[in-house]
Point group: C7
Chain length 93, copies 7
Amino acid sequence: MSLKPLGDRVIIKKIEAEEKTKSGIVLPTTAKEEPSMAEVVAVGADILNDEKKKDQIKVGDKVIFSKYAGTEVKLDGQELTILKLSDILAVVE
Amino acid sequence: MSLKPLGDRVIIKKIEAEEKTKSGIVLPTTAKEEPSMAEVVAVGADILNDEKKKDQIKVGDKVIFSKYAGTEVKLDGQELTILKLSDILAVVE
Amino acid sequence: MSLKPLGDRVIIKKIEAEEKTKSGIVLPTTAKEEPSMAEVVAVGADILNDEKKKDQIKVGDKVIFSKYAGTEVKLDGQELTILKLSDILAVVE
Amino acid sequence: MSLKPLGDRVIIKKIEAEEKTKSGIVLPTTAKEEPSMAEVVAVGADILNDEKKKDQIKVGDKVIFSKYAGTEVKLDGQELTILKLSDILAVVE
Amino acid sequence: MSLKPLGDRVIIKKIEAEEKTKSGIVLPTTAKEEPSMAEVVAVGADILNDEKKKDQIKVGDKVIFSKYAGTEVKLDGQELTILKLSDILAVVE
Amino acid sequence: MSLKPLGDRVIIKKIEAEEKTKSGIVLPTTAKEEPSMAEVVAVGADILNDEKKKDQIKVGDKVIFSKYAGTEVKLDGQELTILKLSDILAVVE
Amino acid sequence: MSLKPLGDRVIIKKIEAEEKTKSGIVLPTTAKEEPSMAEVVAVGADILNDEKKKDQIKVGDKVIFSKYAGTEVKLDGQELTILKLSDILAVVE
């Protein structure tokens, strides 16, 4: 059982703090828009069918996204977030 | 007697909590936009006539949608919600 | 004497509660956007001239619309509502 | 001396209450957007040059419009209102 | 020394009350958007280069405009207003 | 060392009050949007590459702009303002 | 390990005050939108693939940007800001 995001949405799984520390990325809690780190779990059809967008993100990518964006869902015990591609700020390489 | 949604709207029937638990999906009540699960009952003409949209959703699909989206209607004892396709976040597969 | 709606507007006549009960549709008064049932009395020229829109609604259709949409007018004792096609949610079939 | 409305504007002259009563139209003062009745005095160039719009309204038409739309002007003792075509709801036939 | 309005802007010079009275136009101070009368002093390049707009207004035209629109400037003792063409409601003929 | 404005931005240098008085232009401090006078120092690439915009403004032009528009920067002791072309109201000729 | 900005975003690294002073640029803290100085670290794919945008900014450029724009991230001890190209006001040459 899995979720297929609609339109230009992406489904991501948040990465725990320890993992972030190992990677060298620290996401501070400032007064501004708070970013978070996650792994891409699924990519919507509108992104896969768009020549410009499909090369920018794929399943497995680690991404930085705006913490307050999207909707949280629990699936088989996993916490997922469904959000729009435009709410993903950057891919970690 | 049935309802035909206008434009890019979809009509859905909410799925009861027990059914959700069986499926392994839990939709938590957080401070964010609350998602809900439902089954698609009817799809509007603008979606069926759109090459890109018509493959993303069909009658019988189980979907996750934003709880506060759309308008509720009771038809022959059934509680239905009429909402826009853009308010449906993901399809459960 | 009659009214011709301008642009993409539709003129509808609300249906009384008894009639709704007979049809099996109940429109509850919830905290959300309240829907109402009505019959289409006139359809604007922009809808009739639009290939995609003209097949979705016609005079005589029973429709569900958002209760707070549109402007009410009394004509020869009849209460009518002038509203945009986009404020009509579904057609009852 | 006369006024030529710019763009997609129309100039209308409000119709007095007695005249409305004779015509059988009553425009109630409800909590919603209040409509009013008027006669079209002039039509702007953008409407006359638009194939779709020019057939929908002409000088002499009696129209229903949103009471709070437009700007009032007095010309040679006549009270006129300059408003956009989109603020005119319907033509009385 | 003169001012050349940029884009779709127009420069106008307000007409004094006595002149308005002579012309038969009275612009009342109502609760709505207050209109004012002025003479066109300069027309911006985007208007002159637009087939549809250039015939609607020219230097010397007397116009009705929304009193609160635009920016006031004093040039060589003259009070001028720089505003967008869309803030001009009608031309007095 | 200099600044190159991005997109459809312009960089301007405010003109002192004495200079304004000499030129005959007085910019009053009214309750409305306050205009100011300045000289154009640099013009962004999107303006230079646009057939319609490039003829409307150039380095050295004296312009009237909305006082509250843009961002102020000090460069080598000079006070500059970076703002969008659409915030420039008129060119003084 | 590095960050690849998505869409029309840019990643920048703020420049310390001493460095700014050496360069002759002083960015005052006024009541208006506060600008800041930074060096471009990465440029998003939508900018690199856009004929008009790709020549306006590149990695290594020193830029002035709106202080309150974007999202701050710490990567390997470096403070970075991810923001949209439209929030970058000018390039320092």
